[in-house]
């Protein structure tokens, strides 16, 4: 493997942090502050993209930042998996930066500087997670994400926001302290290192290690990264929806939740390894836990009438596709799981962007109030429709590619059960997404003759339309992601 030791990794990692610092320094000047976000996000994306050719050719970048103790190193490492996550989050951050301007100014929100600083800093954490080369770096950046999103969830500072944020931080701290911390300690005691393995098959444990302890450590890690939203530790996500919609969109549909899923996948593949997981049966157990979350998440989503709440449960359900794919451990399934990281990201951010645009333009949050909204906001709702199709997994929108590979994976395992889960989940997705779309364009009381179009500001509509279009593009051309996944293997 062609590994390059370089401090270049620090550039895409630190750019978001620098952006946060500039946001803070220019807090008094709105336009300058918001421009820094846009410039910072574009710069970060370009800095990430520059690493793409080398990674696509099968190489990696790495940098050993600090040595904490024998075997405990803060390592940064960029491989195909890192690139998927880093590219997606940095690219969507650009669109979100524009969207934030429209949303925050449109609603005349308070404490905007704090908002932008924490927003950029959260991306810093997410990039760190993407580039982590050891469990200790992963834990460090994972926790940074928790702490920086806490003020964002609390943004409105009313009773609801305080309750939501308390629940949010309680879930995340509880799991990280009670599960991840002992997992780190036990893994170190067992192996003498906290660095990731170089490939996804062998893992870092010696073959003769005690199976019971392995199972305990595995489930501590599996559930400990609670940002992945695996049931029963999913409840923080609906609470986090009290945050302003740009936070829900980029952070609680892409950056933060993917930090959780990414961490779980990283640990499954690069700490435990496919060999160990398939030998001990932990992989298939995880697949069934993920299946349960997929179905339950969708069922609960059906019952929600608040748009953001329905999207939140849909996110919980969709995140577990990623876990399911990796947990099935077969080549196609892992591909299906990992490719769902970008696919879900582009589609779900569209849905949240749309929800936010509806709220800003028409102050509506509940689904029953959306009758005929498609005529007032045709672009927004068209984008919403495309993204919904992706969620359901209709070809040729991106979500279909994920489901295709996941289904292939299930067949490779000849597991009818998991195949049924995938199909049932698609039906459920259709069950809660299509009614919104139908209601928007075919209201019960008939279409009024002349409805005046009232879209939100272009700062919001253009980004959400772009992400919807890209969902379709990646449905036709998933090659870039497939290649990145290929080099991980």
């Amino acid at each position: 493997m062609n590994d390059i030791q370089t401090s270049y990794i620090l550039l895409p990692l630190l750019l978001p942090l620098l952006t946060a610092i500039f946001n803070l320094a220019s807090g008094k000047m709105e336009n300058v502050r918001d421009s820094f976000s846009v410039i910072g996000s574009i710069g970060t994306f370009l800095a990430v993209a520059k690493m793409l050719p080398h990674v696509l050719s099968g190489g990696t970048y790495s940098l050993n930042l600090f040595n904490i103790y024998e075997g405990i190193n803060v390592i940064l490492r960029v491989d195909g998996m890192s690139m998927i996550f880093a590219l997606v989050s940095s690219f969507l951050w650009i669109l979100a930066s524009f969207y934030c301007v429209g949303y925050m100014r449109g609603l005349n929100e308070h404490a905007q500087t704090r908002f932008y600083v924490c927003y950029s800093a959260t991306i810093f954490g997410a990039m760190g997670v993407a580039f982590s080369g050891s469990l200790i770096s992963l834990y460090l950046f994972y926790e940074l994400v928790s702490i920086f999103t806490y003020p964002l969830v609390m943004h409105h500072q009313d009773a609801e926001a305080y309750d939501g944020s308390r629940k949010y931080i309680s879930y995340l701290m509880l799991t990280s302290k009670v599960m991840l911390l002992p997992a780190l300690a036990i893994i170190y005691v067992l192996t003498g290192t906290l660095d990731f393995a170089g490939n996804m098959t062998t893992g870092i444990f010696s073959p003769d290690v005690n199976q019971t302890i392995i199972a305990v450590v595995y489930f501590l890690s599996f559930f400990g990264y609670a940002k992945a939203g695996i049931m029963p530790l999913h409840n923080w996500l609906p609470s986090a929806m009290v945050a302003p919609t740009p936070v829900s969109a980029l952070l609680h549909a892409v950056a933060v939740v993917k930090v959780g899923v990414f961490s779980v996948c990283r640990v499954m593949l690069f700490v435990f390894g496919i060999d160990l997981l398939s030998r001990t049966g932990l992989g298939i157990t995880s697949a069934y836990i993920a299946s349960f979350t997929i179905l339950m998440g969708s069922v609960i989503a059906l019952t929600k009438t608040n748009l953001k709440a329905r999207l939140a449960y849909s996110t919980i359900s969709q995140l577990s596709y990623i876990i399911l794919g990796v947990a099935m451990l077969t080549p196609s399934a892992v591909t299906g799981g990992l490719i769902h990281i970008p696919n879900h990201a582009f589609s779900k951010i569209t849905l949240f962007f749309a929800a936010g645009a509806i709220f800003v333009a028409h102050n509506k949050k509940e689904i029953p109030d959306l009758d005929g909204i498609g005529y007032k906001m045709p672009f927004t709702m068209a984008a919403f429709g495309l993204a919904s199709l992706s969620m359901i997994g209709v070809p040729p929108v991106a979500g279909f590619v994920s489901k295709w590979y996941l289904a292939l994976g299930a067949m490779e395992m000849s597991s009818v059960g998991l195949l049924v889960v995938l199909l049932a989940s698609s039906l459920l997705n259709a069950g809660y997404f299509l009614p919104i779309f139908i209601r928007a364009f075919f209201p019960k009381d008939g279409v009024k003759k002349r409805v005046k179009m009232a879209e939100a500001s272009p700062f919001m509509v253009v980004p959400l339309f772009l992400t919807a279009v890209m969902s379709v593009v990646f449905g036709f051309y998933p090659d870039i992601w497939l290649k990145l996944i290929e080099v991980v293997k």
Binding site: Y69, L140, R166, K177, V178, L181, L184, A185, V189
Partner: protein, 568 residues
């Protein structure tokens, strides 16, 4: 005795003596100075000079050897073989550095806070510094005891003269608890002297003792140190003292004084009484766990910020004692690192509390809430130190805590599992405190604030900023790159563990169960009579303990008789 000392001729002057006596000289000079600002500036300069003096000590310290370095030896009272012996090793080095670096900050944080009896205040602080450094550097038990007792009076005065409303109660409680501990310490020291005829610590470590003798000496030591740490259930003096002490008093107490106990465990209990340590370590581990959980739960219920941090100290020091009695590399290294970390972080938190107390004249959370909008810089520092206190990755305490936990899981999974809730509790009370101080859930008047609030809570001035920024640097530095710090202590730590786990020590361990214990405590002469082959002193000790063990639990009663027979 030179075999205990490593030859290190980096200095042409006796650096350890300079370190010990520079503050005392400063204290004497301060008596001739007048004027509040002059006195405080003078004290600050002396302490900065001390800190600068200690930097070459750190840089030229050789982390590869476990021997005592820069040792000094001057005969003092020949009749009792009491000598002025100083030396530094990997265990004391970081604590000396912590002391010299924290003390100037104590002057800075008292700049406005202390406004009466400045002369006495400065004198007390400087004497305190000499005593604290002396404790860490002494290699002679009597010298150690002199410094140990010398700390007591200035600390008592700091609370009793410059303290809060309830200072009389708090200072007396502090005095009595600590004095009780000191008495036990003295008992142990005398017992050791009569058993070996020397006060020289390295010799005492090499010497072998019977299990019964070790048992009682360990208990006497442990009681003295457990009060100082403080471990549950001897902790009740701490919250009282912290709440009433002025900011510099709290900082000294939290940063340095609490470390005396854990330092004592490492320096004396483990190497001098290894068998007793091994035998009693499980009990101390569980007491540590109780301290961690108890401190955490009680901190959770506090309305007074200072009390909250004081109880959090009980929990954090529980992690330190936990690490020490794990007696493995990660545990002890984590414990020492955690001592330093706690000194930095809790010291910083007390400075933070002092800063808002100067503005609001209240220590209650409710009176200091929702100040984030007015003091953003302050809140950023408070946030950093709170995160450090709860062991957030990337900060100093995380590394210490992780090492202790690794040590715990290595030793016994159950111990590790019970320590985990302590980490969670710390996160809970610190985040709750932080949330209330920055935003406050219950402020009915909204988050944009009213004029009154804004008027009181002005942001940090340069002095306050400098103090906190200095500590913040170390929080992040140790948090990300602790290896150089750990490297300085590794050799000494592995030697302590070796001494404790030595085969001679484990061989003396009594058989499990009560009867085994009674047998080891009783005659036991035939069981291990010849095992500590240390010449005449060793043998006569055996005989004496035999006698003492039969008569009464007070071993030192038996020992005093021995002293007459074998006096040098």
């Amino acid at each position: 005795m030179s075999e205990f000392f490593a030859l290190n001729d980096s200095f042409s002057y006796p650096i350890l003596s300079y370190l010990v006596f520079l503050p005392l000289a400063g204290a004497v000079v301060s008596l001739f100075l007048r004027g509040d600002k002059v006195l405080k500036s003078f004290a600050f300069l002396v302490m900065v000079a001390e800190a600068l003096l200690s930097i070459p000590l750190y840089t030229s310290f050789d982390g590869a050897t476990a021997k005592f370095q820069f040792a000094e030896f001057i005969p003092w009272i020949n009749a009792f073989d009491i000598n002025y012996t100083l030396g530094v090793d990997g265990i004391s080095l970081l604590l000396v550095m912590l002391t010299t670096f924290v003390m100037p900050l104590c002057v800075l944080c008292s700049w406005k806070y202390i406004d009466k009896r400045i002369n006495e205040f400065v004198f007390a602080l400087l004497v305190m510094e000499t005593a604290m450094i002396g404790v860490f550097l002494s290699l002679d038990l009597i010298l150690f005891y002199v410094f140990w007792e010398a700390m007591l009076i200035p600390m008592y005065l700091l609370i009793a003269v410059w303290g809060g409303d309830n200072k009389a109660y708090a200072s007396l409680k502090f005095f009595l608890y600590t004095l009780a501990g000191s008495v036990m310490l003295l008992v142990a020291i005398i017992a050791l002297y009569f058993s070996t005829g020397t006060f020289f610590v390295p010799t005492l470590m090499e010497h072998g003792y019977t299990f019964a003798f070790q048992f009682w000496v360990f208990l006497a030591f442990a009681l003295a140190f457990a009060i100082k740490v403080p471990m549950f259930p001897f902790h009740t003096w701490l919250p009282a003292a912290h709440v009433e002490a002025p900011t510099p008093g709290s900082v000294i107490l939290a940063s340095v004084l609490l470390k005396m106990g854990t330092y004592g465990f490492l320096r004396f209990c483990l190497p001098i009484t290894p068998t007793a340590t091994l035998y009693l370590a499980p009990i101390l581990l569980w007491i540590s766990i109780i301290s961690i959980l108890y401190g955490g739960f009680v901190a959770l219920g506090q309305k007074d910020i200072k009390k909250l941090v004081a109880y959090s100290s009980v929990g954090h020091m529980g992690f330190v004692t936990l690490g020490i009695f794990l007696i493995n590399m990660q545990g002890v290294e984590g414990a020492i690192l955690q001592m330093v970390n706690h000194g930095i972080t809790t010291g910083a938190l007390f400075i933070c509390i002092g800063i808002i107390y100067e503005r609001s004249h209240s220590r209650l959370i409710a009176d200091n809430s929702a100040i984030g909008a007015f003091m953003p810089v302050y809140v950023a520092f408070l946030g950093l130190f709170s995160l450090s206190s709860l062991g957030f990755p990337g900060t100093n305490s995380f590394v210490g805590e992780l090492l202790v936990l690794i040590g715990a899981f290595e030793k016994n999974k159950l111990i590790g599992a019970f320590a985990i809730p302590g980490a969670l509790l710390a996160a809970t009370y610190m985040l709750r405190l932080l949330q209330k101080i920055i935003w406050d859930k219950d402020d009915g008047h909204g988050h944009h604030g009213d004029g009154v609030h804004e008027h009181h809570f002005f942001d940090l001035n340069l002095r306050e900023f400098g103090t906190l920024a200095f500590l913040a640097v170390f929080v992040v530095w140790i948090g990300l790159a602790p290896k150089p710090f750990i490297a300085k202590m590794s050799a000494s730590v592995s030697k302590v563990i070796e001494q404790t786990n030595a085969t001679e020590a484990s061989a003396l361990l009594p058989a499990p169960g009560w009867s085994g214990f009674m047998k080891a405590m009783g005659a036991g002469g035939d069981h291990h009579g010849e095992e500590s082959g240390h010449g005449d002193a060793g043998h006569s000790t055996e005989a004496e303990v035999e006698a003492g063990g039969h008569d009464a639990p007070q071993t030192h009663g038996g020992e005093s008789g021995h002293g007459e027979s074998s006096g040098h």
